[in-house]
């Protein structure tokens, strides 16, 4: 199979199910279609954290555990949502269209305030860092931008 075809194939749903569930357990709304993304993000009041989930090790070892800790902060986003890169391609592409000024990255996290993307954590800020470091970074953004 050509590499280009393999790259377009979504991961086995059974493989990624626990990775998706981890976000749902944090209270994130799972957005699986472009329409769901638009419906969620077009409600522009307040603060929203969108997490672009992925199968990579830094999502499992750093990003999701760090986000879980950060969401225990006093100041945190009003709403949290997630899309899964490599599984829900349309939803992920639509999500990225809402913050296209930033390069695509997975995993990544973007914080919106009143519809404007005000903070971005791309993969290189996650990889090689432990969960507390990721959490600290996110909490710093929550303290600055969330009520």
């Amino acid at each position: 199979m050509p590499a280009s075809s393999m790259a377009a194939m979504p991961y086995d749903p059974q493989l990624v199910a626990p990775m998706r569930q981890e976000m749902v357990e944090m209270g994130a709304a799972e957005l699986t279609t472009g329409q769901e993304v638009d419906d969620f993000l077009n409600a522009r009041d307040g603060t929203v954290l969108l997490f672009v989930n992925s199968v990579c090790g830094c999502a499992a070892g750093s990003a999701r555990p760090g986000l879980r800790v950060a969401l225990g902060n006093d100041k945190k986003p009003d709403r949290v949502a997630t899309v899964f890169a490599g599984q829900h391609a349309e939803a992920t592409a639509k999500a990225r269209s809402h913050f296209s000024q930033f390069p695509p990255s997975s995993p990544s996290a973007v914080l919106f305030r009143n519809g404007e993307a005000v903070y971005y954590m791309p993969r290189h800020m996650i990889e090689g860092r432990d969960p507390p470091s990721v959490a600290f970074e996110l909490v710093t953004a929550f303290d600055e931008f969330c009520a």
Binding site: C56, G57, C58, G61, S62, F102, P103, P104, S105, Y120, P122, R123, H124, M125, E127, G128, R129, D130
Partner: protein, 91 residues
Amino acid sequence: MGTFHDDKGELHGMTVVVRTHGPRVYVGRCDTRTDEGIVLMDVDQHDDGQDGKTTADYLDFAVKYGVFKKHDMLRVPAGEIADVSRLGELR
């Protein structure tokens, strides 16, 4: 925290900046690094002064937000490499 691919070196999976002996820098995710060079995935490149941006300007944006890739995969020969560092450590 590394990856499960221990045979590919400590930078495997990490986003790195590859500075060359010339005006060009590359930013991409390291796949493998050997004595022959480095293989990068999802790679952008910038020449000093390109689009009116110095290398420092370019890396300042990259450090904050990442890069828009120009290549899915690219190999930089060892002879061209002046330095390799993790993008996340430039902050």
